[in-house]
């Protein structure tokens, strides 16, 4: 167990040690800004709840704890079945002759990194709770946040090794979760006995998991994700079929996307869903249909963009290609914008046709389409430069992009003059450093 703890501890330590000083300072500054922002908002919110809803400090703590635990609870099966099997460290260690307790520690430690986001939220919330409530309420919240995610993980693990397949364990897991929350709601809102209830659940769960310890010999029944070669309608499309003006970079971008069956399947399903939503929404939002359709379009554009950070749908850029090929920065950016904008243009054409069908004026549709297209291009430009900055790691680019967006929104919303200026400065700075990745 000590080896495992050391292995996982050292990974984080080495990662931190390998970061440059500038990056460490940037991370700390961002962390302080985010924490301060969330602490301020949460303190205000908790204060108002304590006064207006006449909650007790412990009651507030229990309420917040269980709201956050819903998030934990819902994501644990996904982490267990999808993310854990992909972790190299986990695979390397689980085949070692580890003791039963070490295997469980491995399971928990390997999952922790996926729960880091709620853990990061936990810090400002516990600070805000310590400002507005008392140490007992904060301790209650922190203990719950540390113990219950482990319970969730052990529950799905126990169900997995007891039952075959993964549909049954997931279904039973959610039934257990629903029963827990239904009873919690009953004890919280009606019977006012949530503290004994939670205490009892914790005791029973601990006892149950302890009793079952003998059956947890080996966490080996993970479902592996297997990549299969599949053909698709575009498999006959060749590089040389593209006109000279679209070669080499646009052709590359399009071929890489169109030959990826998962990308195509996703686009097909999301297009169908988009049309369905736009058509069915007219009945409910007849008066504000233009707003409704714009909101739906923007959401779908956002979803379309989010796949830029998922390695299932985009391939990381190749280091040799970016650093040793005579590429031009804006040619690469334009090629990427062009290839990704095609899908957005398809969405906008569909939206326009549906709006025309519902009798919206052509001029209005034109303004709307131009506005959305402009906005979408700007956003994609940001995504493209962030992806070049982190060219070999789309996921890291995704974190950076979302940090950038959240940071910009917070700054613009709170500082009307300085906020947009800082955002502009950040974009110019990012453009310069991303360009340097290619032309250096």
């Amino acid at each position: 167990m000590r080896i495992l703890l050391r292995y996982y501890g050292l990974q984080g330590l080495h990662y931190w040690q390998n970061l440059s000083l500038r990056f460490k300072i940037e991370l700390l500054v961002i962390a302080v800004i985010f924490t301060a922002f969330f602490v301020e908002k949460a303190t205000y919110l908790f204060d108002s709840w304590l006064q207006s809803r006449s909650m007790t400090p412990i009651g507030l703590s229990a309420f917040i704890l269980n709201i956050l635990l819903i998030f934990y609870g819902a994501t644990v099966p996904f982490i267990y079945y999808k993310l854990l099997p992909r972790q190299t460290g986990f695979h390397l260690l689980r085949i070692q002759p580890l003791s039963r307790s070490s295997l469980l520690v491995l399971l928990v430690l390997s999952s922790i990194k996926y729960l880091l986001i709620p853990l990061l939220i936990m810090i400002p919330i516990s600070i805000a709770l310590s400002v507005t409530t008392n140490p007992v309420a904060v301790t209650y919240f922190l203990l719950g946040m540390l113990i219950y995610p482990v319970f969730f993980l052990l529950t799905i693990h126990y169900l997995n090794i007891s039952l075959t397949g993964y549909a049954k364990p997931i279904a039973i897991y959610f039934v257990i979760l629903s029963v827990y929350y239904a009873l919690f709601a009953l004890f919280y809102f009606v019977l006012n006995g949530y503290l004994p209830y939670q205490f009892l659940v914790t005791l029973l769960a601990t006892y149950w998991f302890y009793r079952q310890r003998d059956s947890w010999d080996s966490p080996e029944i993970w479902i592996e994700t297997v990549q299969k070669d599949r053909t698709n309608p575009f498999s006959k499309l060749r590089y040389m079929d593209f006109p000279q003006s679209m070669r080499p970079l646009v052709a590359r971008e399009l071929l890489v996307s169109l030959r990826n069956i998962r990308y195509l399947r996703l686009k097909f399903i999301s297009t169908l869903l988009y049309i369905l939503l736009l058509l069915s929404g007219y009945e409910y939002y007849r008066d504000s249909y233009l707003n409704f359709s714009s909101a739906i379009t923007l959401i779908f554009i956002w979803i379309h963009y989010s796949y830029q950070f998922n390695e299932k749908y985009v391939q990381p850029e190749i280091r040799v290609f970016i650093r040793t090929m005579p590429l031009k920065f804006f040619t690469l950016i334009t090629a990427r914008i062009f290839s990704e904008m095609l899908y957005i243009i398809i969405l906008l054409i569909m939206q326009s046709l549906i709006l025309i069908f519902h009798g919206i004026s052509l001029m209005l549709i034109l303004y709307l389409t131009a506005g959305v297209l402009f906005f979408a291009t700007i956003i994609f430009y940001i995504i493209a430069i962030v992806r070049i900055q982190f060219y070999d790691n789309p996921r890291l680019a995704g974190y950076a992009y979302h940090f950038l967006v959240i940071f910009s929104v917070i700054m613009i919303a709170n500082f009307y003059l300085v906020g947009p200026l800082i955002t502009m400065f950040l974009l110019i700075y990012l453009t310069i450093i991303s360009r340097r990745q290619i032309v250096k």
Binding site: Q17, N18, D229, R238, Y239, M240, R247, P248, L249, A251, R252, L255, V256, R259, N260, Q315, I318, R319, V320, F321, R323, T324, M325, P326, L327, R436, V439, K440
Partner: protein, 245 residues
């Protein structure tokens, strides 16, 4: 000609290459050899521009890599040890794309000839995602030889190739050197470097320990009555002992 002047590469506290200077002349094949961690790949990464944080200068025919990188990249063929390629392109498409990015004059036969010499013809129209490690290596190698470039740098790119491909690549590299290209290859395989290269550079701990021409190697063999590998091991081992002392 490629000239490196006082190149130093550091990864935090660790010095990967220390104040190294050397000139790689046109028309010759140079081989770099050394134990793991000797600094071969770091030196090459600095030369081709993958590493940005190095001190010193890399000159390609008097052009500083930091100042005229695009012109240099147009004339540079580089194949790394890793086999990352665009998964959903075919080898033929990949090579065609590289040709177009480098703006090489239209030549239908070059790609076909390279594919044939590397035994890739049959799989050239399959997407790369289905390729074996060796096929990927061959594709990356073929891409680095398109042109042919004025500077060819191969970082462990020949390891794992089949004998027929090795034989053909050797003749290709020799003919490119005769046409005036500067060729630099690094490898762990001593026999490969010894038999293919006009000059052999031995690196250890980020330093250039020795530089031998083929004539000097021949003289060394006659003088010591041992083969080059014995000399290499003795040289690298001696440095180990002197470092320990």
């Amino acid at each position: 000609m490629i000239r490196v002047e006082n190149i130093s590469v550091r990864y935090g506290e660790k010095i990967a290459v220390e104040d190294l200077s050397f000139t790689f002349e046109n028309g010759y094949i140079y081989g770099i050899i050394g134990p793991n961690g000797a600094g071969k790949s770091s030196l090459i990464n600095a030369m081709v521009g993958i590493l940005g944080n190095y001190s010193g200068k890399v000159l390609f025919d008097q052009d500083d890599h930091r100042k005229r990188s695009r012109d240099i990249k147009l004339n540079l063929g580089y194949a790394p040890e890793t086999t990352e390629l665009f998964e959903y392109l075919t080898a033929r498409e990949y090579l065609q794309m590289i040709r177009e990015i480098k703006r090489l004059p239209a030549d239908e036969t070059e790609i076909e000839s390279l594919l044939e010499q590397l035994n890739l013809e049959e799989s050239a129209d399959q997407i790369i995602v289905s390729y074996s490690h060796g096929m990927r290596k061959k594709t990356a190698l073929a891409a680095s030889l398109l042109g042919p470039p004025r500077y060819i740098i191969l970082d462990e790119a020949l390891n794992g190739l089949d004998p027929v491909a090795m034989y053909n690549v050797r003749h290709l590299l020799r003919s490119f050197a005769q046409q005036g290209s500067t060729i630099l290859l690094s490898s762990h395989i001593l026999e490969l470097v010894e038999n293919w290269c006009d000059h052999i550079l031995i690196m250890k701990d980020g330093k250039l320990l020795a530089n031998y021409s083929q004539k000097e190697i021949e003289a060394l063999r006659e003088e010591t009555h041992t083969d080059f590998s014995t000399h290499f091991i003795r040289l690298v081992g001696d440095t180990d002992q002197s470092t320990e002392r």
